[in-house]
Amino acid sequence: MSLALSSLAIAVLAAVLYALFQKSAPTFSLLVSMAAALILLARVGSAAQSVLSGLVRLEQCAGGDAYGCLLRCTGIVLLTDYARTLCEEAGAESLAWCASLAGRLLVLAAAWPLLEEIGQRIWSVLG
């Protein structure tokens, strides 16, 4: 409970600082946002780690490769989305687009073994 409250307090404080510096010092406000995000992620790190290790354990029971692929893709999507949002926040629209494209490419690359397997099964029907 205290972790949740302190995390929320950090988020609200960072948002206030961000709003204060957005006009006068946009670079500083971006740094505040990034730092707050890092602090927040570090604070929930132990919870995230336990969830992640639980998910990895379940990977063995839930069809191995397919689930591992989904897990990797989820990680990539989350990171990409954060990077894209940061770029948009900094006003770098083209960079945000690039981050989004890179994310999609990485997801496709991570999902490629699965897609290849689907393709192979479909081709095997054709002979």
Partner: protein, 364 residues
């Protein structure tokens, strides 16, 4: 959930139940001495012995006999199906958990696609295994029928039912063998094509493709339903015609035997005792064959029903979590399982109906 296969199964069960009620008194009297005078023991005896439950047990305590018949095999089949399909269900559950993390991301659609692909890959092999089980079972049943129905036809002919004998070893055997051969040859490739099409539906965003895929399955099921009705009608008509012919021949024989003075009456009495034994053997053999096939059919059919229930459950789960791609894919897969179940029920239903017609009509 509309299931023609299930209706056929209920009809088959009804026929078996009715026949059990009718032949109970005769079956209770079944013993070695009753059948000892009938020739060709080495031909028909193995089929009586092959029955997983004895006919007397079935007539005496049907519920206990059915429990004994299905208990072990059912449990094994259910365990096998559950073991095979729970990983797909777990995969979907975990995909839904992950979707909580990515609910506000812009690439959620891509993750849905991957979840659907993963689910498809996991279930593909399970469904193919099910189809292989079906094909192997059909092959075995075909082999059994090729041996059993000529022997059964011989028993019918021995009992004075020449037309019924020719029908059993002719049209009835041909229909069942043709059906079994078609299912063995076509189920696997057809299923593979259907699964490939379903996977294409899941990758494509075109809703028309999924609807086409599902309606193809529904059409096939409808075709099986009508084919079943038509074949049942033909079998029934043939049985009625054969019965009339056999009855006419039997009455002529009795008339001719009765017209011979002194010896005729004795001859008639002996033939009646012999015919009573044959009728008993006819019922016993028919029920033994139904019990033999039923012991293998029910675990297979129940496995399919369980697989279908799991697929429907997964589909419902996907619709609740908003993963439409997975839902569409699972609906297509469920249709494939329905088709396989309908084909299996058609085969078993026809066999049960044909056999029950053969041993109930004409005295049994």
């Amino acid at each position: 959930m509309k299931q023609h296969g299930f209706k056929k199964l209920l009809f088959a069960l009804f026929l078996v139940g009715t026949s059990l009620c009718i032949i109970t008194p005769a079956a209770l009297a079944l013993d070695e001495t009753t059948l000892s005078g009938i020739p060709g023991t080495e031909q028909w005896q193995p089929y009586l012995e092959q029955s997983p439950v004895s006919i007397s047990d079935l007539a005496d305590a049907p519920l206990d006999a059915l429990k004994k018949l299905f208990h072990g095999s059912m449990a094994a089949a259910l365990q096998e199906t559950l073991r095979g399909s729970t990983d797909a269900l777990l995969f979907l559950l975990l995909a839904a958990l992950l979707s909580f993390l990515t609910s506000e991301t812009t690439n959620g659609e891509l993750l849905d696609l991957i979840a659907a692909g993963g689910c498809g890959v996991l279930l593909w092999s399970k469904l193919l295994t099910l189809a292989e089980q079906l094909c192997a079972q059909m092959g075995e049943w075909r082999g059994f029928l090729l041996g059993f129905l000529p022997v059964y036809a011989g028993v019918l002919t021995m009992g004075g039912e020449t037309a019924a004998g020719s029908a059993a070893s002719g049209f009835f055997l041909t229909i069942l063998c043709f059906l079994a051969q078609c299912l063995t040859a076509f189920v696997r490739p057809l299923l593979q094509c259907y699964l490939a099409l379903s996977m294409a539906c899941c990758i494509s965003t075109d809703h028309g493709l999924a609807a086409f895929c599902q309606s193809t399955g529904a059409l096939l099921r409808q075709a099986l339903h009508w084919a079943g009705k038509l074949l049942a009608l033909l079998l029934g008509l043939q049985r009625v015609t054969a019965l009339q012919l056999d009855r006419a021949a039997l009455r002529t024989g009795q008339l001719l035997a009765g017209s011979v003075p002194i010896v005729g009456q004795t001859l008639s009495d002996v033939s009646e005792a012999f015919l009573a034994g044959i009728q008993l053997l006819k019922s016993g053999l028919g029920l033994a064959a139904i019990a033999f096939l039923g012991a293998e059919f029910f675990p297979l059919y129940l496995g399919m029903m369980l697989q279908l229930a799991l697929l429907c459950g997964c589909s419902l789960f996907c619709s609740l979590t908003g993963n439409t791609r997975c839902k569409v894919l699972l609906d297509c897969f469920a249709e494939a399982v329905r088709c396989m179940a309908a084909a299996t029920a058609l085969f078993f239903g026809l066999f049960v109906m044909g056999t029950v017609f053969l041993f109930l009509a004409g005295g049994g």
